[in-house]
């Protein structure tokens, strides 16, 4: 019997995997990958709650999250390209201009 708990636990595991990716990765592109993982984990969670509650709002939410994620990737990659053209690298360690 798969209950809501199972799905939520799965969502939490995926979210934490994404979290450790965000912390760990030094390459900006790979950092974006980890962000995608987190967004997907949340999507699963919403969809699961939507099914188990019989409420369609969760799926709507997921739908919009997908839309937002897509546009975020577009703009983010555009910025990344610009940075690469200017600096030649997208390593996080080299982006310390705001060191305070």
């Amino acid at each position: 019997m798969i209950t809501l708990t199972h799905y939520l636990v799965l969502s939490a595991i995926l979210f934490s995997i994404g979290l450790v990716g965000v912390i760990r990765r030094k390459n900006l592109l790979l950092l974006f990958f980890s962000t995608e993982i987190m967004l997907n984990a949340v999507n699963i969670g919403f969809a699961a709650i939507s099914k188990f509650y019989g409420d369609l709002t969760g799926q709507m939410f997921s739908f919009f999250i997908i839309a937002v994620a897509a546009s975020e990737v577009a703009v983010g990659l555009g910025l990344l390209v610009l940075w690469y053209k200017r600096n030649g690298t997208i390593d996080l360690e080299s982006m310390q201009e705001m060191k305070g």
């Binding site: 900006l28 982006m95 201009e97």
Partner: protein
């Protein structure tokens, strides 16, 4: 009539504020003229009040509420009864004439305007002091005159400090501080007395206090009387708080004439006279006051015998005469004290003004042995000063004779023979040193020619300003009868009871010693006075150093206190207080410095911090007690 009270009170204030507008500008004659005129207005109002106030008509005005805090209610109230009107007239008369004199004296001074502002402010404070109808207003005036005295003694504050061997007063700024601080010490006593009055009686107004004072225990009343007298001791420079008065001569001479002859130093006597109903209940304290007064009379006169500075001699003379007033007040003869106060104000101020003339003519020279033979060039001044000295010595028919004689009678008739004896010796010394002054300054060899000075008589209007005071010094004695009648409506009547035989004997004896003092001064003058004699018997050094009392104060009080202050500053303030504040600041600074390491600009680090924050937030929400 009430308007006259306000006019008399506030005219000097208006003058002071007017002169203050010109404070930083060079001399403008208009300030002197306007302030003198306003003081004349105040004098006129006082005279009107003198005519009006009589047996049953006292003018009592309440200007406004001042403090109304719970049970504590004090108003700004002013009363013009016989005692205060006498004081008002004395103060305004002397003040007006001193103002006019100052226009001539401060002619070449570049702080001319500031001077008149301070002088009028002083008169205003003195008027508050004598016209107030409660102890707190008295205290305000008390402090005000102390402040203005400080401002005026230190008028030439830019003069440098010198060692005490060159000038015992060190510098005008130092003398001003000394005067103010000594007065402050005495004010503590007075404040305690006022507190005790309020604590026990619940009010500070004269009427209420004097009506109910009898209900307290004798011990309390004694303490109140002693504490109030401590305040008077400071203001009137009685022993041991007397050293400031001689050093206050560093200020301009008209200031000495006004403040340290006629008005501020008499505030102490006024306090005792005003509180006569308190002192009447504690005759022991009164006797103590009289003893202090007699001691000071002789003590100060002794120091004047050998002194070589012109104004210091007159200052010691003031000190001595204040002692006489306190003897009278202490023995219960309050109207006699007031009478002597009034007469003394007239002749002492004109004596100072004459000395000012001499100093001005001699380019601010203050040593009498550099002068001599000035009677040829300054006849008017010599004449006026001689009249004043005769009045001071107590020669008939001048004013001093009547008042001083009455005091001696009082001492004798109340069987305090030792007091009488001291006062009698004091009278002799007074006569001697006054005429020693006159002879050395005005007669004899013209020592000033050696220094190439060219003295000349003062301006005519300056002499004209001095003349009314000189006239009053002559005739004031004849007003004794109306004075007594006027004043004893409020003050207790007191007549020394002596048989007519004793009376004549006392008269002769007193007059005798005064005349012999004068004779000694005049005759011995050609042989250098008694100075050689004093040097021979060894007292000269003691007297000229003021019995070494200032040195004693310096070593015993000032220096240890200075060391205490320095220790408190270095050890306590800097090491503890400052260190604590610095520690707090340093702590915050270091914390900020360490927290700065969070801002690496590295995105990875930021993300790590974000995760940490997320965990903390979730933990805070999730892990709650009782879950």
């Amino acid at each position: 009539m009430e308007n006259y009270v306000y006019i008399a009170l506030f005219a000097p204030l208006v003058g002071s504020l007017f002169a203050a507008l010109f404070g930083d500008k060079p001399k403008t004659l208009i300030t002197g003229v306007v302030t003198s005129f306003l003081l004349f207005v105040s004098w006129f109002a006082s005279i009107r009040l003198l005519g009006y106030v009589g047996e049953n008509t006292i003018v009592h005005v309440k200007m406004m509420d001042w403090i109304a805090a719970g049970n504590f209610n004090i108003d700004f109230g002013f009363v013009a009864d016989q005692v205060s009107v006498i004081m008002m007239v004395t103060v305004t008369t002397v003040s007006t004439l001193v103002h006019i004199y100052s226009i001539g004296y401060m002619d070449h001074d570049k702080s001319f305007n500031r001077y008149f502002s301070y002088l009028s402010a002083f008169v205003f404070s003195m008027m508050i002091l004598v016209m107030s109808d409660n102890f707190l207003g008295l205290f305000i005036g008390w402090e005000g005159v102390g402040l203005c005295s400080w401002l005026l003694i230190g008028f030439w504050y830019h003069k440098e400090d010198v060692s005490t061997s060159v000038n015992p007063a060190i510098s005008p700024a130092y003398a001003a501080n000394e005067a103010f601080i000594m007065n402050r010490i005495a004010d503590l006593g007075m404040l305690i007395g006022i507190f005790m009055i309020y604590w026990n009686l619940g009010s500070l107004e004269y009427d209420t206090v004097f009506a109910n004072i009898g209900s307290l225990s004798t011990g309390t009343i004694t303490l109140i009387g002693i504490f109030l007298f401590i305040g008077a001791m400071g203001k009137s420079a009685q022993f041991p708080l007397h050293t400031w008065l001689a050093n206050a001569m560093e200020g301009p001479t008209p200031v000495s004439a006004l403040i340290h002859a006629a008005t501020m130093v008499t505030a102490g006597v006024y306090l005792v006279v005003r509180s006569n109903e308190i002192y009447a209940l504690i005759p022991n304290v009164g006797y103590f006051i009289a003893c202090v007064g007699a001691f000071v009379a002789v003590f100060a006169a002794s120091m004047a015998l050998v002194n070589m500075e012109l104004k210091r001699i007159i200052a010691y003379s003031t000190l001595s005469q204040l002692g006489y007033m306190f003897v009278a007040a202490g023995l219960g003869a309050y109207w006699i004290a007031l009478f002597h106060l009034m007469a003394h104000a007239f002749f002492k101020s004109v004596l100072f003004l004459g000395a000012g003339n001499v100093m001005h003519a001699m380019d601010d020279e203050k040593y009498i042995n550099k002068m001599g033979g000035l009677s040829k060039v300054m006849p008017w001044t010599m004449g006026i000063m001689t009249i004043a000295s005769l009045a001071l010595a107590g020669i008939w028919p001048f004013a001093g004779f009547f008042s001083k004689d009455k005091i001696l009678e009082t001492a004798f008739s109340s069987h305090h023979y030792f007091l009488w004896f001291m006062l009698w010796i004091g009278a002799g010394m007074t006569a001697y040193y006054s005429f020693r002054l006159i002879m050395v300054v005005f007669f004899g060899k013209e020592n000033y020619k050696k220094d190439g000075k060219h003295p000349h008589e003062a301006y005519p209007y300056v002499i004209a300003a001095m003349l009314p005071l000189a006239v009053l010094a002559v005739i004031a004695g004849f007003f004794e009868e109306p004075f007594v009648e006027y004043v004893t409506a409020i003050l207790p009547e007191y007549e020394p009871h002596v048989s007519s035989g004793t009376f004549m004997f006392l008269l002769v004896v007193t007059l005798g010693i005064a005349l012999s003092g004068i004779a000694l001064a005049v005759i011995k003058f050609s042989k250098g006075n008694f100075d050689e004699f004093f040097k021979k018997i060894g007292v000269h050094r003691v007297l000229i150093n003021q019995y070494f009392i200032p040195d004693f104060y310096q070593k015993a009080i000032c220096e240890p206190y200075g060391k205490l202050s320095e220790m408190a500053w270095k050890k306590i303030d800097m090491k503890i207080v400052d260190a604590t504040v610095d520690f707090i600041a340093g702590f915050i600074y270091k914390t900020g410095d360490k927290a700065r390491a969070m801002q690496t600009g590295n995105l990875s680090t930021n993300l790590k911090w974000m995760t940490l924050g997320l965990i903390l937030l979730l933990a805070a929400i999730f892990i709650r007690p009782g879950m």
